[in-house]
């Protein structure tokens, strides 16, 4: 049995393979390289939700923690330590009382995300490359610009040592 493709079908197939190759590419590689090189990774805003949190003053924000595919898979299967390629992103926004919502609820109770705040932070797992900081790279971007202050970034690791038993990750998956 043989299947014959016309040139037109071959072009379509090539396009199809291209699309498939893109979606099947290892999810952490490009983003990890971007972060290490000081560039916000493409598409991190599309990553899936791990959990949400609220930090009162002085941070005073409401936040979401997102994970790339490796992170989400590891969380859902309780795979710890997290495998190389795991990337966890922490986004945060100003914590704003919503007059509009309060009016509908008939009471002061509703707070929503306002403008981006306190930067975007990432943890990138590579047990070999980042062995000196527990296997994780800690990175922060303020308005898209990478924080280069080594002391500030080192302070991330110092703090995360409190949860060494969970591979240095504070956030638990919200089921």
């Amino acid at each position: 049995m043989r299947f014959v493709l016309t040139p037109l079908a071959a072009v379509a197939l090539t396009a199809l393979l291209g699309v498939t190759a893109t979606t099947q590419r290892s999810p952490g590689d490009d983003a990890a390289a971007s972060i290490a090189e000081g560039r916000l990774p493409d598409g991190y805003r599309d990553w899936r939700l791990i959990s949400v949190a609220r930090e009162e003053a002085p941070l005073d924000d409401i936040r979401a923690v997102l994970g790339n595919n490796v992170a989400i898979d590891a969380y859902r299967t309780d795979k710890q330590p997290f495998p190389d390629g795991t990337i966890i992103a922490r986004l945060a926004w100003s914590y704003e009382s919503s007059e509009e919502n309060n009016k509908s609820f008939g009471r002061e109770q509703s707070f929503v995300a306002g403008h981006p705040k306190n930067g975007v932070q990432f943890m990138v797992k590579d047990a070999g490359k980042y062995a000196s900081t527990g296997g994780w790279l800690y990175a922060q971007f303020d308005d898209g610009t990478p924080v280069r202050d080594a002391k500030q970034l080192q302070s991330c690791f110092v703090c995360h040592q409190a949860v060494k038993s969970r591979d240095y990750v504070f956030t638990k998956y919200a089921r």
Copy 2:
């Protein structure tokens, strides 16, 4: 020019086409049908993040609003009214003081998502089918079980009329 596929390649191609067909299927259809039929839609927990919020008592939760692909595309391109097939999901969890985080921060400031709370709510857009409620179906699932109380569901629409100018949707996209 002709391309020839061996039977093995043809099997691989068939598998490939199958995968591609799945990922390219219209994203809202199955989920909308599930919700309308009283079943939690597959995969809604994987939808992308629209925004986060905190509701104080009596709801007393921290929440995430997720959207299917149609919803996210509409938000990002400011397409309103939202197109048919838009689905917006509201997840919520108990609002828990995190002793672990507070210890690391050295002060009481950190609140995280605990157990699921206040059900999972959906808005499903179909301007024709749900014309009597502004083009949206309002649905809620408590522990996976659909709320059948028509009065309770009608109250969703009553409240959302406050934001009729934004196609009945309170939540704004967190950029």
